[in-house]
């Protein structure tokens, strides 16, 4: 069985301007959503308390809301979570009440009405801790980006490093754009997913670039655009299959992994889909625009070439 029976090289580079326009539009839209709507940060980042309680029977959300307000938190948000029996209560930070105390106040109020209510989890994060997490997250993204550029510059050429990281940071911004547009909760696992995507979709660019390098050696006379077209065409089958396999796992987590991992898997899904697109159709034209030449790649004669056959 084989999905892709491509006989001729597909002239991807001829359509490069089209892809660039698409990228530019999605990117700008993502930035607009991020700046107007902003991210809906989880409690880990903002500080505050989240409680998940289970009633064993359908929870009366309005009643829960009233009880929470009675416990002294009128600005709390209460909603169903996962199923009808579970209520998720978010308490904003409040002056004068230590965070750890809040959940107790609320729980005792809820127990007073219905002793059956079970506490499933409490997450309380102080405002300071949240701020540090945001800072650390930004440092982590910056370091990953830098690390990848340096590695690719060392392994290939700085033009590849730069192209790959622009393409992939564009993915990250688009993922964040989705989270801003739909106001999905941006939690710590989502941040982990974003970083994993950053490392993962660079993979994709690396695979294409590897071929480009190889082609520069083999296709001595061909123009740069043809070299890149051939590299993409010959790797596209592998690209789709690998991403498909990874996506199978991610889909499985999305549907069966439970609520905690839902947005994690969602971020990965968006990242994988855009990762294919950007690393192939954004990174490669960028390399071309940056003016990659045969001389950039061919000068270090690699041992690997001789080892084969």
């Amino acid at each position: 069985m084989e999905f892709f029976r491509i006989r001729k090289d597909i002239p991807f580079m001829r359509y490069a301007p089209v892809f660039n326009v698409i990228s530019a539009i999605t990117f700008v839209l993502a930035v607009i959503f991020l700046s107007t709507k902003g991210l809906h940060f989880g409690v880990e980042f903002t500080g505050g308390t989240v409680m998940e309680v289970n009633y064993g029977h359908a929870a009366d959300i309005d009643e829960v809301r009233a009880l929470v307000a009675k416990a002294g938190f009128p600005d709390a948000t209460v909603q169903n979570f996962g199923n009808a029996q579970t209520a998720l209560i978010r308490l904003p930070t409040k002056e004068g009440v230590t965070g750890a105390k809040m959940s107790e106040l609320v729980l005792s109020e809820l127990r007073g009405k219905d002793p059956e209510v079970k506490l499933r989890r409490v997450d309380f994060v102080g405002a300071q801790v949240g701020k540090e997490l945001v800072e650390n997250g930004l440092i982590a993204i910056t370091l990953v980006a830098l690390g990848i550029v340096i590695y690719l510059a060392f392994r290939f050429e700085w033009k590849f490093g730069l192209a790959a990281i622009i393409a992939n940071l564009h993915d990250v911004v688009i993922i964040l754009g989705f989270f801003a547009f739909f106001q999905w909760e941006f939690s710590l696992p989502v941040l982990a997913a974003v970083l994993a995507v950053l490392g993962y979709s660079v993979n994709e660019s690396v695979v294409v670039f590897d071929r480009v390098r190889e082609n520069f050696r083999k296709m001595r006379k061909a123009p740069v655009a043809d070299v890149i077209n051939n590299a993409i065409t010959r790797t596209i089958s592998r690209t789709i299959i690998t991403h498909g396999s990874t996506q199978m796992m991610v889909t499985s987590i999305l549907f069966f992994g439970g609520d905690t991992l839902f947005y994690f898997a969602l971020a990965l899904t968006i990242g994988i889909l855009f990762g294919i697109y950007s690393s192939v159709l954004v990174a490669s034209p960028l390399v071309m625009y940056l003016g990659i030449k045969r001389e950039d790649m061919v000068k270090p004669e690699r041992k690997r070439e001789e080892a084969v056959v």
Binding site: E2, E52, S103, D123, A140, L143, R155, T242, T246, V308
Partner: protein
């Protein structure tokens, strides 16, 4: 060309065998157990204790499933959680005074596996249920307290040396001392410098007054901060003992924070209550007349005192407080000049002066150290004053070295060095933990099955080889996590799934390369060799970029995210091994020795031959 030397097969086989061995404990599951460990260091865990436990259980007809004696604890296994709870209550009632009786889970793996340290993965709180607290030590408070203490010391010192000052006050973390004239200030400055180390002095004049501003040297500050965190950790550890938690984690996190993790604890309110308690120590004089007559007077108070045989007697103590516990700088077990066990205590200089005055007037009398905890007082030591004390003295009269250790701990850890606040709390109910495990594994398995089906349909025999390599990857990853006892969290399980999804990439790369070589007319044997060789460089590059992301996550992530990063990084390493070495070994074993290999079962590759033009 497709044959490995024997040692390479052996190496791969050995690695896989070790992997299976160390991953195996995870499938045996865990049995409910009760863990009995001594509260203080001196108590023995020995045959006598194990007999006491078995007798107790037998007396109430509780069936146990085996008893393990370890150097520091005894663990008893039970058939189900109901029996476990009954046993815990029973043992708690009888042994609770001296031992921590806690619920625990024990691996059901055979004992020879446990003997070679093959243990199941260590589950994080989000998977086993429990409480996580991050507590912030109020360093400002600790430094204020220190500055207050120095202000007192300076006041006392100047008074003693007869140096006239017109005021001593604390300003922030500094102490400001005011004098009328410069000569006195000079004199005071050198006296302070000589007597109280660790301070910096600056002088200033304003409104005709002369000032010395005394501030803490940076190293003194750091010492105070370190001490505050260390002492608070010790205190927390003692308090956690009371909660009866089998495997608590109490450790420093950053410069001024303490992480407390209590797996299995459900009653968070009680946990918070006990951890947040402020215990205090007081030194008071014993009213010996009242003790003799048994009639406490008006200025007296009665406290229980535990004797060495375990019985409790009352001791009558004066209400007037000589000294409070925050004057104690350090305490440790030691021996006196007659080689009897003793506790050495160091007081700060103000405490030392009070002690000297009191002891000078009361030689030969009894002095008591009282610990107030949960609003109740208890005399932890009643000792006779042998001579005049200074800021360092010894408490003798204890009977064993173990007792001195306990008393030293109490003196040191009875109270917090600085106030603490809970800045992060995470509570996960036990049912939710179990649910998380089930969901995590189910999604991994479903994803794995989908990949298996697809790979076999698409790449036929090479698909089977890829799936075997992927399964080996899973086994090695689980084995590695079990060996390292790295904490597995729910994001960690997600990372296992994700890593497997990504790891198949390497095999796809290899298989696609082999197909391509075949399409270009290479012979099957050469195609296998070329496919593996050429794909290797790409696999390495792409895995290293992923690894960079994983390492950054590990460095800057916290809690569950760190769990994700650890699994992710380890998974990348195991996947490189299994995707390349393991799958190549299998392929070599299958095809390497066949001289006349016509085609490879890797799916259809000759479609292009029927086409008009071949790919460039």
């Amino acid at each position: 060309m497709n044959r490995y030397p024997l040692w390479k097969y052996l190496l791969v086989g050995f690695a896989v065998a070790i992997g299976i061995l160390y991953a195996a404990p995870n499938i045996f599951g865990e049995a409910p157990a009760v863990q009995i460990s001594p509260v203080r260091a001196g108590l023995q865990v020995d045959a006598a204790l194990s007999k006491r436990v078995t007798d107790l259980l037998a007396s109430d007809k509780i069936q146990d499933q085996g008893l393990i004696v370890e150097p520091n604890s005894i663990k008893v296994r039970f058939a189900n959680p109901d029996i476990q709870l009954r046993a815990k209550d029973l043992l708690q009632k009888d042994l609770g005074e001296d031992y921590v009786v806690a619920l625990n889970l024990l691996s059901n793996a055979p004992s020879w596996m446990q003997a070679i340290n093959a243990l199941p993965m260590y589950l994080g709180l989000d998977l086993r249920g429990g409480v996580h607290f991050l507590m912030q030590v109020d360093m400002n408070g600790a430094l204020n307290k220190a500055a207050d203490r120095y202000a007192g010391d300076i006041r006392q010192l100047l008074r003693e040396k007869d140096i006239r000052y017109s005021g001593v006050s604390r300003e922030g973390h500094d102490v400001s001392v005011r004098f009328r004239d410069e000569a006195t200030r000079e004199q005071a400055s050198s006296v302070i410098d000589r007597n109280i180390p660790g301070l910096l002095q600056t002088t200033s004049e304003s409104g005709g007054d002369y000032f010395i501003t005394v501030s803490l040297k940076p190293e003194t500050k750091r010492h105070i901060e370190d001490f505050a965190v260390q002492q608070n950790i010790t205190t927390m550890r003692n308090r956690v003992n009371e909660l009866g938690v089998a495997e608590p984690i109490i450790q420093q996190a950053g410069a001024d924070r303490i992480v407390v993790q209590l797996p299995g604890v459900q009653d968070t309110a009680r946990a918070k209550d006990i951890l947040g308690r402020t215990a205090t120590l007081e030194v008071r004089m014993v009213d010996e007349d009242a003790n003799r007559t048994g009639q406490p007077g008006l200025g007296d108070q009665v406290f229980p005192e535990r004797q060495k045989d375990g019985s409790v007697t009352n001791v009558v103590v004066k209400k007037q407080v000589v000294l409070t516990g925050d004057r104690i700088v350090d305490a440790g077990p030691t021996f006196d000049q007659n080689q009897r066990p003793a506790v050495s205590v160091s007081l700060d200089s103000a405490g030392g002066r009070i002690m000297r005055d009191i002891t000078r007037e009361n030689i030969g009398k009894l002095m008591a150290i009282i610990l107030f905890d949960k609003g109740k007082g208890e005399a932890v030591s009643v000792a006779r004053i042998q001579g005049e004390f200074s800021n360092r003295f010894q408490i003798t009269g204890m009977f064993t070295a173990a007792e001195t250790t306990k008393l030293a701990l109490l003196l040191r850890a009875g109270s917090l060095a600085a106030p603490m606040e809970i800045v992060e709390e995470r509570t996960v109910g036990p049912s939710m933990g179990a649910e998380n495990i089930a969901k995590g594994w189910r999604s991994t398995m479903i994803g794995f099955s989908m990949i298996t089906v697809f790979m076999i349909v698409y790449y036929v025999v090479f698909g089977v080889v890829s799936v075997v390599a992927l399964a080996v990857n899973l086994v090695l990853l689980v084995a590695l996590l079990s060996m390292l006892q790295a904490t597995l969290t729910l994001p960690g399980i997600a990372a296992i799934a994700l890593t497997l999804g990504m790891a198949i990439d390497a095999n796809v790369l290899i298989n696609e390369r082999i197909r391509e070589e075949l399409r270009n007319g290479t012979t099957p044997q050469a195609a296998i060799a070329a496919g593996y060789e050429r794909a290797w460089g790409t696999i390495l590059d792409s895995n290293i970029t992923t690894l960079i992301a994983g390492i950054a996550l590990f460095m800057f992530g916290s809690g569950p995210i760190r769990g994700f990063a650890v699994v992710h990084c380890l998974g990348i390493l195991t996947s490189m091994f299994s995707a390349v070495l393991v799958s190549r070994s299998i392929v070599n074993l299958l095809y390497g020795s066949r001289r006349r290999l016509e085609s490879l079962p890797i799916g259809n590759t000759d479609w292009h031959k029927r086409g008009a033009s071949a790919a460039a």
